[in-house]
């Protein structure tokens, strides 16, 4: 249709653009199959919120007028139905992404199939969603499919669930039917989250076919006073969580156009960073302070997840792709042995002790599944003892990687708690994983919050006092009398505070930065003054009390 509708003369484009610029984004997932009205619901949502073009509507409007109807029926389901193979089979096979917006928000729908053999597609859609719509047929109550979708949504860490109790027109908009389903749903969510960490649940009685409570409030549910589906989608808060967690930046790339600039680029996985914050680079454990937060649009004073930025450091740190930059005060956990939930994707079954490639953040490393603890039966929600997992199975496994992973449990942080497994032979994405916990003895390692430094102390008494003072603050300290530069260098490269006892020879310390405790051996405050000096030159972090107030 090449001819335009004339622009309305009173259309205020400046106002429109200003409002447009303020819109945030909500990603939600839906799951369901052809007969439960999912496509109809999405089609209705798009149509009633005026997000469908005329040519698209024309393409799905019937040619004939049904008896008693005023116009040919619009097949809402067809608005969102995609691939040719799916049209032929009448099912939705893959995740399809849909877009629409209202005056308040932009929405991305990950529209996924509901059958069990498409569990992997449901997990894919749920992985990036802030909210999931669980569809329930009012005539049938909670069936396996709704149960499965609720389970996967909980597993993938979706914080907001909306149960759309659909086909209310076929149960005469009965409040009793609705209340029974709502009560069953709360019971189900309690079962799915025995630790009490259940996502929020909102239930809405709808008729996708007729439009009741989808966009417009229905006059046929006078007993329901809650929001319509769209109203809820517009108002649910989504932006609060990521920015307040401890800062994590998986390093994607080192940007180094010349010798004057060295930026560590990545997308902030969690938290907020300020210029001047003390960070720790992992796995090296070296600390420094953020010198600048670089973007094409100018340096920033602070940046929050999920912005893509580059950081420069005050010190020359050896950081490369795959490393994690964390706020020094709250480093992530680390482990080589992990317990994780996995969703198995591949047609080839999981084999324990076979090497897979594990991609976590920006690093990929060899890993093995050492044990399958159990598989969850999604029909009954019970755990079954098995030795392996097949396609679309969900289970809990133990994994060992060849190097340490720096992670947060998935329940605390989706970005630093998730991974995928790749089959190194076929390159297929074999599984998705969500880290539950470390299987090492120490779950939280001691990550140095100080910089490596060589501390020269002349007398054994002073060395003992200094060592005790540093150990009391949990710093990693080593004390030596060996006047050997290679040994001192390797100790420093481990990120340690090295106390060198005795008078250092020039041969030993050439090229090394030396901090000497040169005080009257009788002075009781010599060590305290030395510690203050080390804080002043940022080898030691500011004192704990101050730091906690800041963070």
């Amino acid at each position: 249709m090449p001819t335009l509708t004339p622009i309305e003369p009173d259309f205020a484009i400046e106002e429109f653009l200003h409002a447009e610029q303020q819109k945030d984004l909500l990603r939600f997932s839906t799951a369901g199959s052809v007969d439960d009205g999912k496509s109809t619901l999405i089609g209705r949502l798009l149509y009633d919120s005026r997000n469908v073009y005329e040519d698209q509507v024309r393409a799905v409007t019937g040619k004939t007028i049904a008896p008693g109807a005023k116009a040919p029926a619009i097949d809402f389901a067809q608005l969102t139905d995609g691939l040719r193979a799916e049209r032929e089979q009448g099912i939705t096979i893959d995740v399809a992404y849909r877009f629409f917006s209202t005056q308040r928000r932009k929405f991305i729908i990950a529209d996924t199939p509901g059958h069990e053999q498409y569990t992997r597609n449901m997990a894919t859609g749920a992985s990036t969603a802030d909210l999931a719509i669980i569809l329930i047929d009012a005539r049938k109550g909670i069936l396996t499919q709704s149960r499965r979708h609720s389970y996967i949504a909980s597993l993938l860490g979706i914080r907001h669930l909306v149960a759309a109790v659909n086909k209310m027109d076929l149960v005469d908009f009965s409040e009793d039917v609705y209340n029974t389903i709502v009560s069953d749903l709360h019971t189900l969510l309690g079962q799915l989250n025995p630790d009490g960490n259940a996502p929020s649940l909102v239930t809405i009685p709808v008729s996708a076919l007729d439009g009741d409570n989808v966009v417009e409030p229905s006059t046929r549910t006078p007993w329901y006073s809650g929001p319509t589906l769209l109203q809820h989608l517009e108002e649910v808060p989504v932006w609060t969580e990521e920015a307040t967690a401890p800062f994590r930046l998986p390093v994607q790339r080192v940007i180094r156009p010349d010798q004057h600039y060295r930026g560590f680029a990545g997308q902030i996985a969690a938290g907020t960073i300020h210029r001047g914050d003390t960070i720790v680079a992992l796995p090296s454990g070296r600390t420094s302070r953020v010198a600048s937060i670089t973007t094409f649009d100018g340096d920033l004073e602070k940046a929050s997840a999920p912005l893509s930025i580059a950081l420069t450091m005050e010190d020359e740190l050896d950081i490369s792709r795959g490393d994690v930059i964390s706020i020094a005060a709250h480093p992530p956990q680390h482990a080589t042995a992990l317990e994780a939930s996995v969703v198995w994707f591949d047609a080839t079954r999981l084999e324990t002790h076979r090497p897979y490639l594990l991609k976590h953040g920006t690093q990929t490393l060899p890993a093995r599944v050492t044990r399958v603890l159990h598989r969850t039966n999604i029909q009954t929600l019970t755990d079954e003892a098995v030795n392996s997992l097949g396609m679309n199975d969900i289970g809990v496994v133990e994994i060992e990687s060849t190097r340490s992973l720096f992670f947060d449990p998935y329940a605390e942080n989706r970005a630093s708690g998730s991974f995928i497994l790749i089959d190194p032979q076929t390159n297929a994405t074999a599984a998705a994983g969500m880290i539950r916990r470390s299987l090492g003895t120490a779950t939280a390692i001691h990550t140095p919050t100080h910089k490596a430094a060589l501390l020269s102390v002349h007398t054994p008494e002073q060395a003992t006092t200094l060592e005790a003072a540093l150990l009391a603050e949990n710093f990693a300290v080593v004390r030596t009398k060996l006047q050997s530069q290679p040994i001192l260098r390797s100790l420093l490269s481990l990120g340690l505070l090295v106390i060198l006892e005795g008078i250092p020879t020039e041969h030993t310390t050439v090229g090394l930065e030396l901090h000497t405790l040169e005080a009257d051996p009788q002075s009781p405050n010599a060590v305290a003054a030395f510690l203050n000096h080390l804080r002043a030159v940022h080898i030691l972090p500011a004192q704990k009390g101050i730091e906690e107030q800041q963070s």
Binding site: I7, D94, F99, P306
Partner: protein, 312 residues
């Protein structure tokens, strides 16, 4: 009615990111991931508005460094002259490593949409040229500006879209793609098409062009242009093999909504000569953007067929 109530902007939390900031951050992450994981990536540059946005995002991703991969323009030979001069000026100005690839053999044999029909013409000058170009340089990953809101089969495309040794897409066998963890592993000869604008809509693209002041080809802006007026269609007068009947050629204030080959891209009557006016037109417009492209409507599901064969 909840949807029509504009939000109270002052009441929103300041730390919240807008949807464009979120989309930008996501796209930059994709650019950096591809540049780090592949041996020889390339950005397919079509000169259109989506390519212009893609180019700006690539600049942002590697700032203050240069874009660490070349750009490839698959030139059918029937692009508008204004597009080609825009391309060449931009490449010079931004110091881009721009490569151009054409199916010279097919053009020498006289391939054009009138002689061959649009399907065969696109097959030779776009799909074959693209696959040959990628193979010739040995590119293992290619960025494309396609968006999921454009067309039904694109709604299902992954961000990292795997292509076999023949460059073909198998919609039934796509790799699951979770979070922002992309599987970049391929065997020799295989490749990945990467779509960093997957989650952008047409309105997002225009709004970003406005906010970022991104240069675009002047054909997008309305002015008096010489057109063959045929029924509802406006066909730009550019190629001699597109014949007009007496009285069909007129000067019409018009513009292009999407840039393709001149014989197959219809113009629209429009007064929109600034980006805000284009956006105003877009939001009051009732038909989707590819509706003016002849090629998508040849046959039911034609885009899906082209994609399976290797088209973007």
């Amino acid at each position: 009615m909840p949807t029509l109530a504009p939000p109270d902007i002052a009441a929103l939390p300041a730390s919240r990111l807008s949807h464009l900031q979120l989309l930008e951050a996501e796209s930059i992450q994709i650019f950096r991931e591809v540049a780090s994981e592949f041996q020889k990536p390339v950005m397919l540059y079509s000169i259109g508005k989506d390519s212009s946005v893609m180019l700006r995002l690539a600049q942002k991703a590697f700032y203050p460094g240069p874009i660490p991969f070349p750009l490839l323009h698959v030139d059918t030979g029937y692009k508008f002259n204004e597009m080609i001069s825009f391309r060449d000026n931009l490449a010079k100005e931004l110091n881009l490593d721009l490569r151009v690839w054409r199916n010279e053999q097919a053009l020498a044999d006289g391939a054009n949409p009138v002689a061959l029909g649009t399907q065969r013409c696109c097959g030779l000058l776009k799909t074959t040229a693209l696959l040959d170009g990628l193979r010739n340089y040995g590119f293992d990953a290619a960025f494309g500006g396609a968006r999921r809101d454009e067309e039904k089969s694109r709604a299902k495309e992954r961000i990292f879209s795997f292509r076999d040794k023949a460059g073909q897409w198998d919609p039934k066998n796509q790799r699951p793609e979770l979070w922002n963890l992309y599987n970049a592993r391929i065997a020799p000869g295989e490749s990945i098409r990467v779509f960093p604008l997957s989650n952008w809509t047409e309105l997002d693209i225009w709004h970003y062009i406005l906010l970022e002041n991104i240069p675009i080809v002047p054909l997008y802006f309305a002015k008096e242009r010489e057109m063959i007026v045929r029924g509802d269609s406006l066909i730009p007068v550019e190629q001699s093999f597109v014949k007009s009947l007496p009285g069909e050629v007129q000067w019409i204030k018009s513009r292009l909504r999407s840039l393709g080959c001149s014989p197959c891209t219809g113009a629209i009557r429009s007064d929109a000569d600034t980006i805000p006016k284009i956006i105003a037109e877009l939001v009051s417009f009732r038909s989707s953007e590819r509706a003016n492209r002849v090629i998508d409507h040849d046959q039911d599901g034609s885009m899906e067929i082209k994609k399976r064969e290797g088209y973007f």
